[in-house]
């Protein structure tokens, strides 16, 4: 599904998901990688901040919900 996809709105893929933000040049959220602070820079129309919180787990955390619709 296309939650926050980097992809255009045409029905091209079930992949992509949230990569649009994670893949911005000022971020590095690759598996096991560090998070880098963005470089200085400012969109003239923007004030404020946008955050990403990533929780990574591994191991057995029990059964997880399956969505009704297939991706």
């Amino acid at each position: 599904m296309e939650l926050l996809s980097i992809l255009p709105s045409t029905p091209v893929s079930a992949s992509g998901s949230i990569a649009f933000l994670a893949a911005t040049p000022n971020l590095n959220l690759g598996t096991g990688a560090r998070i880098q602070q963005p470089p200085a820079g400012k969109d003239e129309e923007d004030d404020g901040a946008f955050g990403i919180i990533q929780v990574q787990t591994s191991g057995d955390i029990g059964p997880r919900r399956e969505d009704e619709e297939d991706e």
């Binding site: 255009p8 079930a14 911005t24 598996t31 602070q37 400012k42 969109d43 404020g48």
Partner: protein, 246 residues
């Protein structure tokens, strides 16, 4: 989270949304990471929480809207690597709102409509500048005319034409209002130990006057357990963008 809030003195006066988000990610998150790391490790689950704060918001516009609006204030993502099988990912985007005694003052009907319907929208701005988005497209090999290249449609579910759109429940799972209760509770009391964050559904009829919802900590636990959030494809960040283009 309350501890970070208290130590950040956010209970003095009315903090800004940005101050609350920064406190959450830069102060509270490492503390939660430390506590959960120890607690979950003892039962065989490895956990790591990390966060980043970017300057600026993604701003979007959609047809029929009187003005543009923010896409959100922060993104929650849970990546789980099971003992066997591929990486599983769930995510939810959150719009933070300062919640006063009378409720939310900064009401925005365009934003609320976006969170309730998720119409097709177009990016107009990006953290760090719109050039960053162009760089993402270039890195992914995406080309096309503007503004089509910046359009997004969250209701698409599959790669085949005619595949069913996401259900309203799934769309609702993908977003939450993050109500920050700045006045009701006793944040100045070091013994209070209450969390100011509530994650609330945009579908609630009284969204601006009710903070009924899970605490952020509780929501994170449910996200980890797969009870909340929207299941999304787990591409690696950012190196596997090509995967997102098939």
């Amino acid at each position: 989270m309350w501890s970070a809030w208290h130590r950040g003195h956010l209970y003095r006066g009315t903090p800004s949304e940005v101050a609350c988000i920064r406190n959450l990610i830069q102060v509270a998150l490492p503390q939660v990471d430390a506590v959960w790391h120890s607690a979950l490790n003892s039962v065989g689950v490895q956990v790591m929480l990390q966060g980043v704060v970017c300057h600026g918001h993604p701003w979007i516009r959609y047809p029929g809207a009187a003005a543009r609006c923010e896409l959100g204030d922060f993104l929650l993502v849970h990546d789980h690597k099971p003992d066997t099988g591929p990486l599983e990912r769930r995510a939810v985007i959150v719009q933070a709102k300062i919640f006063h005694r009378s409720g939310v003052r900064a009401r925005n009907s365009v934003q609320l409509d976006l969170y309730r319907r998720w119409p097709r929208f177009t990016y107009e701005s990006w953290p760090g500048g719109i050039d960053n988005l162009a760089a993402v497209h270039a890195q992914a090999g995406l080309t096309g005319p503007l503004p089509v290249l910046r359009e997004r449609e969250l209701t698409i579910t599959g790669s085949t034409p005619g595949s069913p759109p996401a259900s309203p429940a799934m769309l609702d799972d993908a977003c939450r209002y993050g109500m920050i209760d700045v006045e009701y509770s006793r944040w100045g009391d070091p013994q209070a130990g209450m969390n100011p964050w509530r994650l609330c559904s945009a579908q609630a009829p009284n969204i601006y006057t009710s903070k009924a919802g899970f605490t952020l900590g509780s929501y994170l636990v449910r996200l980890m357990d797969g009870q909340v959030g929207r299941r999304v494809s787990a591409t690696q960040w950012p190196t596997s963008l090509s995967v997102a283009c098939h």
